[in-house]
Every structure is written in C-alpha cells, then in structure tokens.
C-alpha cells in the first residue's frame, strides 16, 4: 500500500501538468489567431463547389496544396471541388440542388438562371454582392449583372466579362488557307465565295461552309441596310436596332436575299448538300482541318486553335465581320453564371471567394494557370503554359482587365478580340425574354413547320422562289399570326417599361 501512494500522486501530478499545458496551448492558439485576423473572416470553413468536366491531376494537387494554403491565409477557408462530367452535368447538378445537398457554389449557363430561380434552387445575391463583392462589381460591367436580374433581384454572378459584341455575327476563317490563295482578309460575301473557289481549285478536299443552322445574321451585315438583331435562337424574328421596331424576318426581303445566297452556295458547292443534315459532319470537317470558314463567336479563333492545329500544325484562325465598319450589338454580354444554392452553408464565403478571384491579376492568373514559374511563365505579355493540365476554366472567368492570351495565339487574333467592342452598342433586345406561354400551342406548331419547311430553304437546298409561298402558308396555318401578335405585345410592354426608366434617368 505504501508504494502505491507515490505512484498515484505522480499520476495526478502528470495529469495536472498535461491539463495546464493544454490550457496554455489553447489560449496560445487563440491569441495567435486573433493576432492576424484583421481581415480574415471567422471561422475556418470548407467551401464546397461543383465544377463541370474532369479534374486534372495537377488541379487536384494544386487545390490541395498551394491554393488551399493561400485560401486559408487570406479567406480562412478550404476549397473542396466536386467535379461532375460534362455528359451528366445538368442532371447531376439538378439532382444535387433538388435534394438540397449543401454545396456552396456552382457554375452554369445564364439561360438556366431563371429556371433555377423559379424552382427555388438558388438564393438572391444582392446583399452579399454589396457586402463582399466590391471587386466583382469593379471588374464586371454593370450591364452584365442585368442579365442575371429577375424580379429586381440578382440571382447569379456573370463571371465572364469579356467582349461579346456581335457574337455569332462574324465568320471564323482559316487564315493560313486564305493567305495561301493570295487573299488577306474577308470583307464581303464575294470574298468568301472567292476564297472557296480558289481553294477548291487548288485542293477539292476542302469544304466551304457547313454550319447551316446558324449564320444568317452574319450575312445581314452586308445584305441589310438596316442593322438587325435576331430575337430568338430559331431565327424567325428580329429587331431593327435603328428604329427599335420588331421585324417579321421571314416575310422580309432580307430573308429572300439570304436564302438566295445560300442557294448560290449550294450550287457552287460551297455548301455540300450531301452533308447537309449530317449533324456530325461540320464539326468533323473542322476538326479534320478541312473546313474553310464557319460562324465566329468573338473568341472562337482563340478557343478552337488548338483543335485545328492538331489536324494541321500550320493552321491559323481569324474572325472577320462582313461590312466591318457597321456597328456591332451586344445582346448577352456573359453566358457564364455562378450561383449560390439556397441551402449553401457558407454563402458569404462563396461570395468572398468569387471576389477573391477577381481581386487582382495575380489571383486571377493563380487560379486559372497555377503557380507562376511552375505551371506557367509570362513571356512577352503572354501565358506560356508549362503543363497541359487544366486548372480553373479560363473562359469561366475571362476578364477584360486581366486577360492574357496564351503563347500559341496569334497577335492579330488577340488584337481583334481586344478591339471587338470598339464600335459596339447595346442591343435594343438586351434584357428582353419572349415568354411563349400564352401561345405555347401555336408556337410549338410554328416551330415544327419551320423546321420542316424553312430549314431546307435556309440551307439552300430548296429554292426560295419555288417553295417560300407554300411554306409561309403552312406556317400561318400553324398559328404564326398569333405568335407574332403575342411577341409584339410583349415587346411593346418591354419597350414601354424601358422608355419609362430611361425617362426617369433623363429627368434625374
């Protein structure tokens, strides 16, 4: 018994000592945390974010180490990315949103914002943006935010802030081939036809133009004396940017002119009627380096370069506007939308994180290209990639203030993009969304008839002169008149609202 006592006492002493040191340690930590938390939010949290595609090995490593190390220091948070493959992205993300999984941030296209708002998946961001997003509002133009405003509230952050004027109204040309047949640039429809003819004479394996479901408005720049903008993806209605009036495009003379150009192109082989309708063919031929031109998309010459160079290492791409002096119109400045789910655990940190990305060029490059010197190098104002692994998608956050092209992109292409907005105007349609609900039956029928009767005319395999009358009759029978009336009514209401707010601003 006598020997046990000292042991017990010793144990007690040790326990006491441990307790004391533990208390000391805890208080010590607190003190140091308080010390450098001047701007760092509390507490330390994990931000869960969804990304589309597949995570590269380097991205995984980068997030786990360099990125999270910085985020801990600067935002006191840890980023946890969940990648969902592109093929399942929509279904899986909607499942996650519907089941209320507590993700904090996700990306999707702007068209989905109103849908997700209606389904009550996402939360309004006005207060958060005001409190934590001053760099977002500073780097992203105010107009871009209007895209994601519904019922007077902001529902998404339009993350991309780059040029968008005249999107889908340009043509992207194989510049190297153009130069190989002695031409320098494309200014007109006849330039395109000459390009094809000369190229076809030199090497008949090249295809002219295959993207027949788009591109009518690219031709308008030359064919129309009035600046028009398509109202819908289906290319049925347009607005006159000068007058602000709606245009019944199919019944206009302009449509006849466009159809006739296409008909001529089919005739000369610029459009291969054997391939029209074969959906995979146009991309196929582009990827194979066999396509001479297609519809441009402002930065497509940069984005598609790598693919085409895989087929032909000497390939160069460049985008041209027909009648280049005419103004361009901005309809949708950003298609990228970052949303915060309704059930997010840390909405405030999600906003801070987005703000952090655009806070400085250094942050921007860090998250898009990785560690300077290790993952990329800056060479003559361009990004030289040292790894092929994808980090944060560049297009998601592409920002005019910070944009740097990669080394393989030609200077002329970069120049084009940087000056794309030079003679741009905001479209009359900006902010207008046609709601087909009141005429949905007619609208569905109209679309079916349009696809059956008008698409072949659009492509040029059916003669406008022979078929238009009959096609138009069918369209009217399907209820074209009602749709047109409803569209006019909604558009008039939209214009009225617009002029009212404009008046108010003027009176101020």
């Amino acid at each position: 018994m006598k020997r046990k006592k000292p042991i017990f006492a010793l144990g007690l002493l040790i326990a006491f000592a441990v307790l004391i040191s533990a208390c000391k340690g805890a208080t010590g930590d607190d003190a140091s945390a308080d010390g450098d938390s001047a701007n760092v939010p509390q507490p330390y949290v994990t931000l869960r974010m969804i990304m589309p595609g597949d995570e590269s090995a380097r991205m995984r490593e980068f997030v786990d180490n360099e990125l999270n190390e910085r985020l801990k220091k600067e935002l006191n948070m840890k980023l946890e990315l969940t990648y969902i493959p592109w093929s399942d992205y929509q279904s899986k993300i909607e499942l996650a949103l519907a089941t209320g999984e507590n993700y904090d941030l996700f990306w999707y296209g702007t068209p989905f914002v109103s849908d997700y708002k209606a389904k009550n998946y996402i939360q309004p961001l006005d207060t958060l943006l005001r409190q934590y997003g001053k760099d977002l509002t500073a780097r992203i133009p105010e107009d871009n935010f209007k895209l994601d405003e519904i019922d007077g509230k902001l529902w998404a952050i339009p993350s991309q802030a780059f040029t968008s004027a005249g999107k889908f109204t340009s043509v992207m040309v194989r510049q190297d081939l153009l130069e190989s047949v002695g031409m320098k640039s494309i200014q007109s429809i006849s330039d395109l036809e000459a390009f094809y003819s000369r190229m076809h004479a030199a090497d008949p394996s090249y295809y002219g133009y295959l993207e027949t479901d788009r591109g009518q408005d690219a031709l308008w720049r030359e064919l129309s004396d009035q600046p028009l903008t398509f109202l819908d993806e289906n290319q049925i209605f347009a607005v006159n940017e000068n007058t602000g009036g709606l245009v019944d495009y199919l019944e206009s003379d302009l449509y006849r002119k466009v159809a006739q150009v296409r008909e001529r192109w089919v005739g000369m082989g610029l459009i291969d009627k054997q391939l029209a309708g074969n959906l995979a063919a146009n991309i196929d031929q582009e990827d194979a380096g066999k396509l001479l031109f297609r519809v441009g998309a402002v930065s497509r010459a940069m984005e598609n370069l790598q693919t085409v160079q895989n087929a032909d290492p000497d390939a160069k791409l460049r985008e041209y506007y027909l009648a280049p002096d005419k103004p361009k119109y901005i309809v949708a400045p950003s298609n990228e939308a970052y949303m915060i789910p309704k059930n997010a655990s840390h909405p405030e940190r999600a906003m801070r994180f987005m703000n952090w990305i655009l806070q400085s060029k250094e942050h921007y490059n860090f998250i898009i290209y990785g560690v300077e010197g290790k993952d990329y190098r800056i060479e003559n104002g361009k990004i030289k990639l040292l790894t092929n692994d994808q980090f944060m998608y560049e297009w998601m956050w592409r920002n005019k203030n910070y944009f740097m092209p990669t080394t393989n992109v030609d200077d002329s292409v970069v120049r084009d993009m940087m000056h794309n907005d030079d003679n741009a105007k905001v479209s009359r349609l900006f902010g207008f969304h046609f709601n087909p609900e009141p005429v949905k039956n007619e609208y569905a029928k109209v679309l079916a008839v349009y696809n059956e009767k008008f698409v072949p005319i659009n492509i040029g395999i059916v003669s406008y002169d022979k078929q238009f009358g009959q096609a138009m009759d069918a369209l009217k029978k399907a209820g074209y008149g009602q749709v047109w009336d409803e569209l006019q009514r909604q558009y008039a209401a939209f214009r009225a609202g617009q002029s009212l707010s404009a008046d108010r601003e003027e009176s101020k």
Binding site: K273, A276, G277, N278, A280, N282, D287, P456, I461
Partner: protein, 573 residues
C-alpha cells in the same frame, strides 16, 4: 504431498481453460471458414455484376445496330436514285443522323454508332471527333472484334452490312458500325476500380490485356501465363496465383459479347485481412488466457505454496523437538499472522518445556539438599539426645511431642512425589521444624501471621524451610538475647503474594546484603549451590520473572527474607 492445494488449483485452472480454448478455437475456425466463403462469394458477385454491366453495354449496341440496319431511311440513303430530290435526301439524312445521335446518347455509353455507305463515301456517325471511325472497316461482317489502328488506338468493333459482306472484295451498299474505344473500356475499368474492384482488366489469351488507367501492369503481366480461361465458365473456385510479390486470388468472368474475360485480382493478404484479424484476435486472446493462467499459478505458488511449505517445515522441526525453529521473512497477509502465531507458539512451547525441565531439576536438587541438610548428624544427634534426656527425666510428653515433630518433619521432607505443596502444608512443616529447635534450645519464640486467602496457594515444596533454617543457623548462632522469628503472609490487591520471614538477629551490613542478593539473583541456573538460590530459581520458573526471593532488613534490625510471587488467575483457590 503429491496432491497439494497448489497442484489441485493449477489442475482446476487447466481444466477450466482447456474447454474454453477448445470451444473458442472451434468457433474461430468455423467463423473463419464462413467468412472466407462469404468474401470469395462477394468478390465473385461483384465481378459478375461488372461483367453484367459490360455485357449489357455491348448487347445494347448490338440492338441499336440491328435497329439501324433494319431502318428504311438508312437503307434508302444507300440508293441515291431513290432520293432523287435534294430535299428528300436532306430529310432522310437528317432523320438518320438524329436517330444515330439519339441512340448513341442513351445510357451514357460512349461508344460510336455509324452508318457507312462505301459506294457514295458518306459516313453518318454519332461522334464528330477525329478518329471516331477507323480508317478501314473489317473485311467481313462480324461480332465484336478487337482491333488496333496504325496509330496504336485499339477498339472493339462490330459491323453488319447489306448485302452481307463475307470477303474483302465484296462491297456492301451500307455497313452499320458499332465501335467502342479501348479508352472507354479503360475508363469503365477505372470506374469499376473506384467502385470496389481491386485492379480490374480485360483479358483474352493471345491479346495484350486492357488495363485500367492506374493498373499495376507489371504485376498483371506476371500473372498472365497463369490465367487459364478454360473451365472458367460458370461457377468455379477463384484461381490462386503466386507471384514475386505474394499470392493473389484471381476472379475471372467472361464478357459474353466480347469473348474477353474481366479479371480482377486481390492480394490474399487484403482479402483475408478480416480472417487474419480474426485469427490474430484468437491467438492473442488464447495467449493472454494462458499467460494469465501462468501468472495466476505463479501468484498462487508465491503466496500459498511457498509459505505453506515453510510452515510445514517449521512444524516438522517442532515435531522433531527442535523448538528453537522460528519462521523468518514472514510474507504479507494472513500468512504473516500465521507465522507470528507459530513463532509465539514455538517460543511458548520452548519456554514451557524449559521451565518444566528446570523445575524438575530444581525440585530434585532441593530435595537432595534438604535430605543432605536434614540428615545432618548434629540435628539428628541433638534431637535424639533431647528425646533420651526427656525419657530419662520421664518428661514423657515432651519426648512424645519431639518424636511426633521429628517424625512429621522427616515424613514431609522425604516425600518426593509432588514438587508443589500448599502453603498450609509448608507452614505445618515450619511449625514442626521450629518446635523441634525450640525444644532443643529454648532461646527464641516465633509468630505466624498468614492471610487465610493464601493458605491454599501452591508453592514449590520446601521453599519456606530454607529461609527458616537460615534464621536458626545464622541469626541465632550466638544468641545475645532472646530470639524472635515472625512469619507473615499477605495478598496484595495487584495479585502479588508475599511471604516474609523476619528475625531479630544481628542482620547484615548493607553492602553484604546487596552482594548476597545479587548472588541469589544472578546465579547461573546450572550452578546452584545454596538453598536460597534454589528457592529463588524455582519461584521464578513457576511464577515468572517478577517472582522470587528478596532480602532486606527487618524492623527488628535482623534480616527479612521475603518470597514474592504473582498469583496466577487459574490458580485454584
């Protein structure tokens, strides 16, 4: 001795432990067997499930291919004359193209479906990427076959033509192609890997295996020669393959449409881990039980067996009469008490036996001395002379009285049977003795004053007489005046009895008295040469250390010898 408590306890422990361990071993064996079976079955089911998935994918492509093959639009496109009209051609092409895209879009399979029209050179396909279609189609129609194009990209392809193509030279009007790239299979395998398979790969003898993206290819290559698909159909035991890295359990199952086998292998160590854990637990627990039993045995041995044996040794010594034996290093607990008791018992026995022996010796010595002293010729001569003169003087009564006293005196002193006598008896002897001397000399008187409470007490025989004799012999030798002897007995409250003999003789100088007292007290027990020493020793032996003979001066100036003894409780009163 053979079946000591300790042995019995150890045997009981073993008896207890044996069935427990046996039962435990049996249950462990059974559970291991069941577990092994279940693990193998689970693995097999897993492999079968994935094989089912793969088979289903290829079967689905089969059915899509048939659907396209039988479609009127698809056939019509083969005969441009039938579709004289550009519009009709466009519409048919669009329909077929959309149909192919739809089919390829179902189910999340990333295979490629295409219709090839060799005569017009037209290809309609579901995937627009370069290399989606091989440069050349198989020479004849066939089910899924594995091919590689010159760039090294491998794929499974299946074709069906109209009219049927049976040789390379024949040119079909149309061929419906279904193709799945090796890359897709690899992705699927990688996905299977992340969904529970260990390291799946596809294998067909004679071909290079299709690995998942993170496969351990070197290890798989090492296994390949051992893989024997013959008899792999249906249910069969998993193969056991030993490689340089260890043993592996290999499951293989045929993907029917392909004729390839999905193979997955698991290191025996991994798959058997739960069983191994189970067994380790078993060994650990059994070992622990045995160890605890040993510890228990050792504790029993230390705390019972050893002290017990020592105790028995001690007993043996006592039994053999070695009363000096004592227990040393007493252990803790009850045995310490037992040892202590044993030790005190042994010492008590030793003491008692010693006392008894000494008492006997002293008694004998006392008797011998008494006899020696009383067969003193002067004493007897004087007495007999006294009797003779009394008879001559016709003092009949005095002669008779002297004779009676003498006779009683001798009878008492020569009676040796009992070593103890009551004080009463001793006093009677003293009275006889004093009477005899009184009659002989007639120069002293005596007085006896005894507390009746002590009359029945037993004291060593002849312990009073030497004191009185001392007075007669030494104090009255030169009588200057009339002598006086007083014998007093008392019992104190504390249980100490005192019996004193006082005289009025010349006494002794204090130093002399002191020396005499010391001589009596300190005489070694084996060198008794005076009666007084003998008395003192016997009292001490009988009544303990506090008892004995004490000398002092009487109030008359003579000597006072006092017998002191502790009255014992069990003394019969």
């Amino acid at each position: 001795m053979k079946s000591s408590i300790f042995t019995n306890m150890v045997i009981a422990l073993l008896l207890l432990l044996t069935p427990i361990i046996t039962l435990y071993a049996y249950s462990n064996h059974t559970s291991s067997r069941v577990l092994t079976k279940e693990i193998v079955k689970a693995k097999r089911t897993q492999v079968e499930t994935f094989v089912g998935q793969l088979s289903q994918m290829f079967a689905q492509f089969d059915s899509y291919q048939k659907m396209l093959y039988e479609s009127t639009e698809v056939r019509n496109l083969a005969y441009p004359d039938l579709l004289g009209d550009d519009l009709l051609h466009f519409r048919t092409l669009k329909t077929v193209s959309e149909e192919i895209n739809r089919l390829a879009g179902y189910g999340g399979w990333k295979g490629i479906i295409a219709v090839v029209y060799p005569k017009t050179g037209m290809v309609i396909k579901s995937n627009s990427s370069l290399g989606a279609m091989p440069d050349s189609l198989p020479d004849k129609d066939e089910f899924w076959s594995y091919r590689a194009n010159p760039k090294g990209d491998a794929y499974f392809i299946e074709t069906i033509s109209n009219p049927a193509k049976n040789a390379k030279e024949e040119e079909a009007d149309l061929t419906v192609v279904a193709k799945v790239d090796e890359g897709e299979i690899k992705s699927d395998l990688s996905e299977m890997k992340s969904n529970g398979l260990e390291d799946p790969f596809l294998y067909k003898p004679g071909y290079s295996p299709i690995y998942n993206y993170t496969a351990n290819q070197a290890l798989i290559r090492e296994m390949l020669p051992e893989l024997n698909p013959d008899g792999a159909e249906g249910s069969f035991e998993p193969l056991l393959i030993r490689t340089g890295d260890g043993a592996y359990q290999v499951h293989m199952e045929m993907v029917k449409p392909l004729g390839w086998y999905l193979v997955d292998y698991v290191p025996i160590g991994t798959i058997m881990a739960p069983i191994k854990r189970n067994q380790m637990t078993f060994y650990a627990i059994s070992g622990m039980m045995l160890f605890m039993a040993c510890i228990l045995g050792f504790i029993l041995y230390r705390s019972i067996r050893i002290p017990f044996r020592k105790l028995m040794q001690g007993m043996n010594f006592i039994e053999k009469g070695i009363y000096t034996s004592r227990m040393k290093n007493p252990p803790k607990g009850e045995f310490r008490y037992l040892y202590d008791r044993f030790n005190s018992m042994a010492s008590r026995i030793e003491e008692l036996i010693e006392d008894v022996l000494k008492e006997q010796i002293r008694t004998k010595e006392a008797n011998v001395k008494q006899l020696q002293s009383q067969i003193n010729p002067h004493f007897l001569y004087n007495t007999l002379a006294y009797i003779k003169s009394m008879v001559e003087l016709e003092e009949k009564e005095a002669a008779v009285s002297m004779t009676m006293n003498l006779s009683k005196y001798y009878r008492y002193t020569t009676k040796l049977s009992n070593s103890l006598a009551t004080l009463q008896e001793e006093l009677e002897l003293i009275v006889n003795y004093l009477d005899i001397h009184n009659r002989l000399t007639d120069d002293f008187e005596y007085e006896i004053d005894i507390d009746p409470a002590i009359l029945d007490m037993r004291i060593p025989r002849l312990s009073l007489q030497p004191l009185v004799e001392n007075v007669i012999v030494h104090a009255f030798r030169k009588p200057v005046r009339y002598g006086a002897v007083r014998i007093r007995g008392s019992l104190e409250e504390s249980g100490i009895a005192r019996l004193s003999v006082e005289d009025n003789g010349p006494g002794m100088a204090p130093a002399q008295l002191e020396a005499l007292q010391a001589k009596i007290r300190n005489a070694p027990s084996d060198q008794i040469d005076s009666g007084l020493q003998n008395v003192h020793q016997r009292l001490m032996l009988l009544f303990g250390k506090g008892s004995g003979l004490s000398l002092g001066l009487s109030e008359w100036g003579g000597l006072c010898a006092e017998l002191i003894w502790q009255v014992q409780d069990n003394e019969p009163q």
